[in-house]
């Protein structure tokens, strides 16, 4: 009996792989229309971008471009303004990511319960995602207007110290304010992803834990947290990547001001390339940014891996 069934299985397997090979061959043809543009439009420009970082390329038409080795990078190493911007970029990326994670996680926990206004909350939770960054910037600058904006008005009414601050224009508050707005934008993706993970937790598991006498904290610690660990790591990594090189929101909100307090590296590179026309130098900044992202990711991945092995 058993020998027959194994035989059958073997036969089936053989058939399967044969068929699989059959249409595997054809798949190359379908891949071509996408891979030719992908190579032409993605692999080629990225390689070119890295190459540009080693040249003295400038904006003008038909300007002779020559290879200058690590000259751009040597110059960049001594560019204190860039490193200042780089530091702001790291502060911005990490703060936005973790603030958005915190807020998004809280919202996901709420959305996972049976509450009133759930439908409204679900829709609202996606609003920031749907909006063009330029509109987000306009919206928040309307809210934060120094003289007759609602937030200043509310804070004044509540007698909060420093209520009259021009939040986006003040040296001390500009970066934190922009970070909060960045987190507002970053929340939806995090909320939706964590919510999906939460909804993947089988209800039986939670009920069994309740019957076994696990309190809310223990259920959270031993059921909820492990369930969202994987997606959270992925979200942190992705958000740091996205935020470190984000541009539109800060450009429209503050354009890097006041006094360079919100001058994220993407803005710096943009100015260098399209204001001053130094393509080669700007590209070297982009390469350094990409390296920084890879560096941050590897530190992060190593840390999470360590945590996993300690478990």
């Amino acid at each position: 009996m058993s020998s027959v069934s194994t035989k059958e299985v073997k036969l089936k397997k053989a058939k399967k792989s044969k068929k699989a090979k059959l249409y595997n061959r054809g798949a190359w043809i379908y891949a071509m229309p996408a891979f030719i543009p992908l190579v032409l439009l993605s692999v080629v420009p990225l390689s070119q971008a890295v190459w540009t970082a080693f040249t003295d390329s400038v904006a003008g038409f038909d300007v002779k471009v020559s290879f200058i080795g690590f000259e751009n990078f040597r110059r960049l190493a001594g560019d204190t303004l860039f490193w200042q911007s780089f530091k702001i970029g790291i502060i911005w990326a990490v703060s936005v990511t973790f603030l958005a994670l915190f807020l998004g996680f809280g919202l996901a926990l709420l959305l996972n319960q049976k509450l009133r206004f759930l439908g409204l909350m679900r829709v609202l939770s996606l609003v920031p995602w749907a909006m063009p960054p330029v509109v987000v910037a306009i919206m928040w600058s309307l809210l934060l207007r120094p003289q007759s904006g609602p937030i200043v008005d509310l804070f004044t009414a509540l007698h909060i110290p420093g209520a009259q601050t021009d939040w986006l224009g003040d040296f001390n508050t500009a970066l934190p304010t922009v970070i909060l707005i960045g987190a507002w934008v970053g929340m939806p993706v995090i909320t939706v992803s964590i919510l999906a993970a939460l909804q993947g937790i089988p209800t039986e598991m939670v009920e069994a834990a309740i019957i076994d006498g696990a309190n809310a904290w223990k259920r959270f610690r031993y059921i909820t947290l492990p369930a969202i660990r994987a997606i959270t790591s992925a979200l942190i990594a992705l958000n740091i990547i996205w935020n470190f090189s984000s541009f539109g929101l800060v450009f429209v909100l503050t354009a890097g001001g006041p006094g360079g307090k919100t001058f994220v590296p993407a803005l710096f590179a943009y100015n260098e390339a399209f204001k001053y026309g130094n393509f080669g130098y700007a590209a070297s900044m982009g390469v350094v940014m990409a390296l920084a992202i890879v560096g941050m990711l590897s530190i992060y991945l190593r840390a999470t891996k360590k945590e996993d092995t300690q478990r």
Binding site: A20, Y23, N24, R25, G26, A27, Y30, A31, P33, A34, F35, P37, L38, S42, P45, L46, Q48, A49, T52, G106, L110, K114, L115, F117, M121, V123, L124, S125, V127, P128, A130, P132, V134, V135, I138, M139, L142, S148, P150, W184, V189, V192, S193, T203, I210, L238, F244, S245, F247, G248, V252, P265, A269, A273, F274, A283, G286, M289, A290, L297
Partner: protein, 291 residues
């Protein structure tokens, strides 16, 4: 899910406790509703206020009346209609082209030999690490060389480049969720690989394709950076560009029309999101989870 839990016997101890712990929960709900919804409502309210009302020291959420002039002003005098048209054409073309290119490729990546799909997936992920401010430099030079600088087509080309990796990633997840058995049955019945793709895979993939196309459309509609670099003349501007320019110059004085324009620019995105809420969320995850 909800029906399943309803049938379960209630646990009495928990039920009594529930009411107290709901208080902080509803405080949190109010916080989130305000935090997420208020900025948008405020913008809409601003768009209906007269210039005089906007100068008041203590602004109110409810405008004194409906001052539609702001909308007429931004649409007719500031060329917003033309920008909206450009944005729409660009987003539509990008979504259509991206779909045409990604459907076969996503199929190939999901079903091809391991090594090949591994390389492709790795590339998709690597391409995310490069900052746009780096990628834009060679793209700018390339678009200039082929004479498409400051044109709608140049922007479409760049958007296509930018959206290919993520669209592929998203669609790949949808393809993986289609059982291979169906295709094998098709092959068994003597269907060619092209027939399998068109007759079996494609119909099952339609929801995924729609979600991917809408996602791409939205991203292009909202995009700012590439447009800022590649578009120079006002008649070729996209909506975000016009709004940003307006905010930088006259907008500080003309808050009403600025808010009106920003509100109008959000409507298509909100409509798409309203319709696609669940699809987008699950689609976004599909690539990651089933990859």
């Amino acid at each position: 899910m909800s029906t399943a839990s309803k049938q379960l016997p209630a646990i009495p101890v928990e039920k009594k406790k529930r009411k107290y712990y709901l208080i902080p929960t509803y405080i949190a709900v109010v916080f989130y509703v305000l935090f997420l919804g208020f900025p948008f409502i405020w913008m809409f309210s601003t768009s209906l206020k007269t210039p005089y009302e906007l100068l008041q020291l203590h602004p109110s959420l409810i405008p004194d009346g409906f001052y539609w002039q702001n909308y007429i002003d931004i649409i007719e005098k500031r060329g917003l209609i033309n920008s909206a048209k450009n944005s729409f054409i660009i987003a539509l073309l990008t979504a259509a082209l991206t779909t045409v290119f990604t459907v076969p490729a996503a199929y190939a990546i999901a079903r091809l030999r391991k090594v090949f799909s591994g390389v492709a997936t790795a590339w998709i992920l690597i391409s995310q690490v490069f900052p746009v401010s780096l990628v834009i430099i060679p793209l700018f030079m390339a678009v200039r060389r082929i004479g498409l600088l400051d044109t709608i087509w140049g922007l479409v080309l760049v958007y296509l480049v930018a959206s290919l990796p993520f669209a592929l990633w998203m669609l790949k997840g949808y393809v993986s969720s289609i059982p291979v058995d169906l295709e094998e049955a098709g092959a068994m019945d003597g269907a060619s690989s092209f027939q399998i793709l068109v007759r079996i895979v494609f119909p099952l993939l339609v929801p995924g394709i729609v979600a991917t196309a809408l996602f791409t459309f939205l991203n292009s509609w909202n995009e700012f950076f590439f447009a800022l670099v590649l578009i120079q003349s006002p008649e070729n501007e996209t909506l975000p560009l016009t709004l940003a320019r307006f905010m930088g110059s006259e907008g500080q004085v003309l808050l009403g029309p600025l808010a009106a324009g920003a509100f109008l620019a959000t409507i298509p995105s909100l409509v798409i999101f309203g319709v696609m809420q669940r699809k987008l969320a699950s689609g976004l995850l599909a690539g990651a989870v089933k990859g």
